[in-house]
Symmetry: C2
Amino acid sequence: MGTVGIKQVAEHAGVSPGTVSNVLNRPERVAAGTRERVERSIRELGFVRNGSASTLRAGHSSTVGLMVLDLANPFFTDVARGVEDVASERGCAVLLSSSAESGERERRNIRVFAEQQVRGVLITPVGDDGQNTDRLSERGIPVVLLDHPTPRANQCSVAVDDVAGGELAVGHLLADGARSLVYVTGPAALRQCADRRKGALRALRAAGLGKDALRELAVPAMNARAGEEAARRLLDGGPLPDAVFCANDLLALGVLRVLLQAGVKVPTDVALIGYDDIEFSAAAAVPLSSVRQPTYQLGRIATELLLEECDDPGGHAHQQVMFQPELVVRDSSRRARPLTGNDQAMAGEPEGEAL
Amino acid sequence: MGTVGIKQVAEHAGVSPGTVSNVLNRPERVAAGTRERVERSIRELGFVRNGSASTLRAGHSSTVGLMVLDLANPFFTDVARGVEDVASERGCAVLLSSSAESGERERRNIRVFAEQQVRGVLITPVGDDGQNTDRLSERGIPVVLLDHPTPRANQCSVAVDDVAGGELAVGHLLADGARSLVYVTGPAALRQCADRRKGALRALRAAGLGKDALRELAVPAMNARAGEEAARRLLDGGPLPDAVFCANDLLALGVLRVLLQAGVKVPTDVALIGYDDIEFSAAAAVPLSSVRQPTYQLGRIATELLLEECDDPGGHAHQQVMFQPELVVRDSSRRARPLTGNDQAMAGEPEGEAL
DNA sequence: CGACAGGCTTGACACGTTTTAAAGACATGT
DNA sequence: ACATGTCTTTAAAACGTGTCAAGCCTGTCG
């Protein structure tokens, strides 16, 4: 049972290999009768094209690389769904890998992408310098930054305004009466964490409060376990704040869990808000307020941009797409009405439709 | 800037291309001095191996295909994490795709895997007939079934005993005093749904109850939205049952949400239990009882089995690994003590450590 | 009838790597 | 000096597809 290639098909159909190749790649240049004969042979022999040979010849594969920060975070799996859907529609395969927030793993996996001759790469970079992605661009591999705005005009990016999101979240907490806040955040190197912090500070300033109204609590990861750790440090560290803003929902869920377990009432004793509005936040013990991002769309649009650039590198104009986040208020941050009545926070859906 | 290949490296280092290849693949066969010279050239020229050429020559790539049923389900993303971790350790890339529970998409994506010359495939099949996977085996591509036991001795599988799991769940509900039950399930074609149902019936029989104590409520998908739909049908359809068993946690979270919204008390009015014990179930509005599976391990072990088979197809002995699930009891199914005191349900951790 | 155009098809080569058989260099033992 | 063996390097031949210039055929026009 020798492997069946373009050559065997050609023989079976009584044509030359070149013609079979034409049937596969430019069917319009082949006479209808011949085409049918070849197509029948393809079916009968169960031929499937050898992608590595195509790739070798073409110089690039029909595969896109996707690198996320954390596969366990629903935010990224939603993005991945968007990517997979678009890629699948276009017949592309998706090479998945996770940097696990490590620059070293990112570098290693990017190298694998390059070896595999990926058509293009979608990446949420760990660092801010773009050192790793530049190596791809140098090799002529298109890169689209995912959830990461860029000032550079030589690449596409799709992101959500995290500064605005941070401002939205903290603005809401302040409008709700909070005066002492804690920001639970991940590694300072992550742009997401830094930007949301910036937005938080901006909201403080707008409310006439100083920086010292916001205490920072940094943990080494962005998952629920790290959130639990943060909450324990919070409980051990003197008087509780009025409100806690977490850099993402996983952290917030961890915080929530430990607070409730310690008998702290949310939102009465402490108001809580997260970020990302993952599907499960609405179903939490205390439904979690959050900042919603168009996650699935992020993945879709980034992939469309990438494939557009791949198909026409010349005519493609790089775009920096920036979405605006949306505040979703649920029970975890709905305290007694604030003294100051200026409640300008835009309300999320009265009862979230998601989940 | 012509692309730099093995040939350019050879020229730069003053050796033949064959020697460079040897440095890359069997370094021990080349003299230390030459090796160093070549390695320096590799670094200086920034050479990275062209994977498609390797693949073409070798007949298979260093990539494994992973096909899941639903990327939005944390169960599968946990599995995917296990797969990605092991693959990454071994320098393999992961080609990800989702069948979205559609046999047609499964077929299409498997074809893409075959084109890409994947080394092997990990798959949670949609149907039970193995028609799609057989096409891979015929082509000599190793297949490991994920979360799907197989009677066939010619392939590996890694699964969790779903019949036992269903029995565990329903046995617990019965021991807790429930006498009328509803099973909320997905498409009957999914083996997971069918097996868990089988276990449920077995538990009924063991308790001396007939089939009619378990009403079935089938919905077309296995996500939270479908769960909400099920709950609405439940509310519309006459008197509520004592307890509801959902075929997975996403369904259960959807059911929970709609029940609570309708003023139904869980577990007082209706006890509820899910399946999979995803991270978020412990943090739900009413912490959700569930059946835990070693999800991440499932992915790891399946991948190890697959790579073992790839590395030594001859010496490899196919294995059917079967894990036992574990009951995790939380608030959603802890009603008033049952009349009959035989509470033999094994308790999960008193306070789940996860999340 | 010959020339020519246009549509189809062909044959051969290139893509970059791995592998294999063979050649070369050198030392050892006879 | 020669045979023998070990260690290292090389040249050439694949792997299966895409492309391109050249060839073939048919029909049309002069």
